[in-house]
């Protein structure tokens, strides 16, 4: 029995960060394009980076069309290499590309694929904790795949403290903004809700300038939580000196999301409930009537794609995406 000593070829470097270098490459046996994340080991004060451990730990366990595939783990010349599915584009790039038009069926399709991927994580008791358009990658066949499990963790013991310093600021749920030490998969649901809004608006929905501003931006849009709508919210560590904004009326939301149907507004409202216990879970979201009303979600292969670009620009984009 033998195995080919060289199973992958590296072509070009597409990104470099403090703890990893990303290369494009090919799986020789299948000619499949892959990305190799080479993780530097042994040079840092605290050894193998936690995010690398998480990525291996959780991605080895998950296999789903809407979750990035970890193809292989190997160590060579004393570095750890993670072989990942190669995914050339992400949702952020498309949102920012004003020349690409999103139809409501396209948004529905991306949202559906995102929810399916997260549902698979949650039913395996894994919280992603860093959902944002930049981490929703797009395969050449249009499939959306959830990536970057560097902040993920498994839902552990109920009496254990979790850190509230997770999720990129704009997509951070109010309980996290308030510094909650116990939270649920609802933090991921919130992020998806904000991404849904961003897909419709084509601009970030709640772009706070800093952590304090984030609270203000969030509550100006969605109302300041009170004891009435969110029991015991005032017990959370960072709940103090808040400006009180009234919750938005249905009409205000209609005005903000002018193209949204009533059903899509229902779903958005349900995903962005301030009280995490009232927020819908993944199963409820997937079964929402929004997905039953016309138009049907676009087939992945028919979804808008990144416009062809000159090689230089593409390289810059890659560099940006793989800033590790």
């Amino acid at each position: 029995m033998t195995t080919a000593p060289l199973k992958y070829s590296k072509s070009k470097k597409v990104g470099e960060g403090t703890y990893a270098v990303v290369y494009l490459g090919t799986q020789i046996s299948s000619n499949r394009k892959i990305a190799i994340k080479e993780i530097k080991t042994g040079m840092f004060k605290d050894g193998l980076d936690m995010s690398a451990i998480r990525e291996v730990k959780y991605l080895q366990e998950l296999k789903h069309p809407n979750v990035i595939e970890l193809v292989d783990v190997f160590s060579a010349t004393n570095n750890l290499n993670l072989v990942l599915e190669f995914l050339p584009c992400d949702l952020e790039v498309l949102i920012k590309d004003t020349s690409v038009v999103f139809k409501s069926a396209d948004i529905k399709s991306w949202l559906l694929m995102t929810l399916r991927g997260i549902h698979h994580c949650h039913r395996n008791f894994i919280l992603h904790r860093d959902l944002k358009p930049n981490n929703l990658l797009l395969a050449p066949d249009g499939q959306l795949k959830i990536a970057d499990f560097g902040l993920a963790r498994s839902l552990g013991n109920a009496n254990e403290d979790l850190t509230s310093n997770v999720v990129t600021r704009w997509y951070r749920a109010p309980e996290l903004l308030f510094g909650a030490k116990h939270y649920t998969p609802a933090v991921d649901m919130w992020s998806v809700g904000i991404i849904f809004a961003e897909l419709m608006l084509r601009t970030p929905y709640l772009p706070g300038k800093d952590d304090v501003d984030q609270l203000d931006v969030t509550f100006r849009a969605l109302g300041t939580p009170t004891e009435q709508i969110w029991p015991n919210v005032s017990m959370l560590p960072q709940y103090n000196a808040l400006r009180v904004y009234p919750p938005p009326s249905r009409q205000e939301l209609r005005n903000r999301f002018s193209a949204a149907t009533e059903k899509s507004l229902d779903l958005l409202i349900s995903m962005t409930q301030l009280d995490p216990s009232r927020r819908c879970d993944l199963t409820q979201a997937l079964l929402h009537e929004f997905f039953l009303e016309s138009p049907r979600p676009t087939e992945p292969e028919d979804l808008p794609k990144k416009k062809e670009k000159r090689v230089k620009e593409e390289d810059d984009e890659m560099n940006k995406r793989f800033k590790v």
Partner: protein, 416 residues
């Protein structure tokens, strides 16, 4: 399963640990066209007892068996102190002990008097205490209880009363005057370097398998035992008895043989059979339980349907637990919480365990026929002392055992 390419670099033979070279210097000469060593390893988190004794025969010399056991107890005490001081949950302790025992399946146990004349950085790497620190460090990462290595070191060195600032350390743990040393790192820094190097080695030994062959959410024995007790409606005192057994068993090599849920269930079955009535606890529980109830609970347990535990594995664990107490009752934690003489029988506690074992004589255990012959064990490349130089100079690929099917497909593909 372990597969090596036939064109292995002549300088690298499997089964030889080359610890003389620093892990941090990549060897450039191997890149110049020579075939590079390559190995694929499919994680095997569990071993049979015959595999374990075979592995130990390679790493622990007969003359050192006793030292190894004694040192292990001291070290687990030390690890427990660290875990307590840093307020980590017990699963960090449990994972650390698993890693420590796994480490010495594939690495030589060397615990000699430090040789002052050598100025070898690897000296520290051989120190079981530094190995233990590495195990704790990696366990905290895997169990999501992240702490800076520095903080763990400070606590650990304080527990052992070691002066971290002493200079001139050649990596040797002793605080001797090794004059003329070229290395002027403080002990803390030398320790850190050794831990960094050991961490990468440990990662290879666990085959980058962070779920240890089970499922992601499978808790450690102590916590599972309590969860199972709760599910079965077992009262406080009996649960406490089970927990004490769990705490004893956690430090044994049983975790290298049987998955934790099967061990926990075995602990509960042993407890229910013993029907412990006298146990010293700080709290006085309000509820009381009649023996009839215990029998009922025991009768109602369905290993596989309720707990997804294959029966032979549970039986294997039951026998192991009983043997443990028959031989080591006096050293166990449980012993401190029960009276020396059992009230009902008027005999020492150990007789209850012996009596129970005699009743369990005909349990179906695992069939180990396939791995009893030494010849077979010798031909199993997975059981060789792990060659770190493969990952250094060539490539070592790691797969979870549940990906085995994919691996077989690859083999078929290449056979064509």
């Amino acid at each position: 399963m372990s597969v090596k390419t036939p064109n292995t670099h002549p300088g690298i033979s499997p089964g030889v640990v080359d610890s003389s070279k620093s892990n941090l210097t990549p060897n450039g000469s191997n890149l110049s066209g020579k075939p590079r060593p390559s190995v694929t390893q499919i994680s095997r988190p569990f071993f049979t007892s015959s595999e374990l004794s075979y592995l130990h025969s390679q790493t622990i010399a007969d003359s050192k068996k006793l030292v190894f056991t004694q040192r292990k107890h001291q070290i687990f005490q030390f690890v427990f102190q660290i875990v307590k001081a840093l307020k980590f949950p017990l699963r960090v302790l449990s994972t650390s002990m698993n890693y420590y025992q796994r480490f010495y399946l594939f690495n030589k146990f060397e615990d000699e008097e430090k040789d002052e004349s050598t100025s070898d950085d690897n000296e520290l790497e051989k120190d079981p205490y530094v190995v233990a620190l590495t195990c704790v460090f990696l366990a905290t990462k895997n169990e999501d209880c992240i702490k800076k290595l520095r903080d763990i070191q400070v606590v650990a060195n304080k527990i052992r009363d070691i002066d971290e600032t002493s200079k001139g350390h050649n990596g040797s743990g002793s605080n001797g005057a090794s004059g003329g040393s070229r290395n002027s790192d403080s002990l803390a820094e030398a320790q850190r370097k050794a831990i960094m190097s050991l961490e990468f080695k440990l990662l290879q030994l666990i085959k980058f398998d962070f779920i240890n062959g089970t499922v992601l959410t499978l808790d450690s024995i102590d916590s599972l035992t309590i969860q199972f007790c709760k599910k079965l409606g077992i009262n406080y005192k009996i649960s406490m008895f089970s927990w004490l057994i769990a705490f004893d068993i956690m430090s044994t090599p049983l975790c290298l043989m049987i998955p934790s849920h099967c061990i926990s269930l075995a602990i509960i079955i042993v407890t229910l059979n013993l029907k412990p009535s006298q146990i010293t606890t700080k709290f006085t529980p309000v509820e009381d339980l009649s023996e009839v109830n215990l029998e009922e609970i025991l009768e109602g347990i369905d290993c596989y349907e309720q707990f997804r535990c294959p029966e032979p594995l549970v039986n294997e664990a039951i026998i192991y637990i009983l043997d443990y107490y028959i031989h080591q009752m006096n050293y166990s934690i449980l012993n401190e919480y029960i009276p020396a003489i059992d009230e009902e029988t008027g005999k020492e506690q150990v007789f209850k365990f012996m009596e129970l074992k005699s009743r369990f004589n005909d349990l179906t255990k695992m069939n180990q026929k396939s791995c009893l012959k030494r010849q077979l064990l010798e031909s199993d490349e997975y059981l060789k002392v792990w060659d770190y130089s493969v990952a250094m100079k060539g490539s070592a690929r790691f797969m979870l055992s549940n990906k085995r099917r994919r691996f077989s497909e690859e083999i078929d593909l290449e056979a064509v």
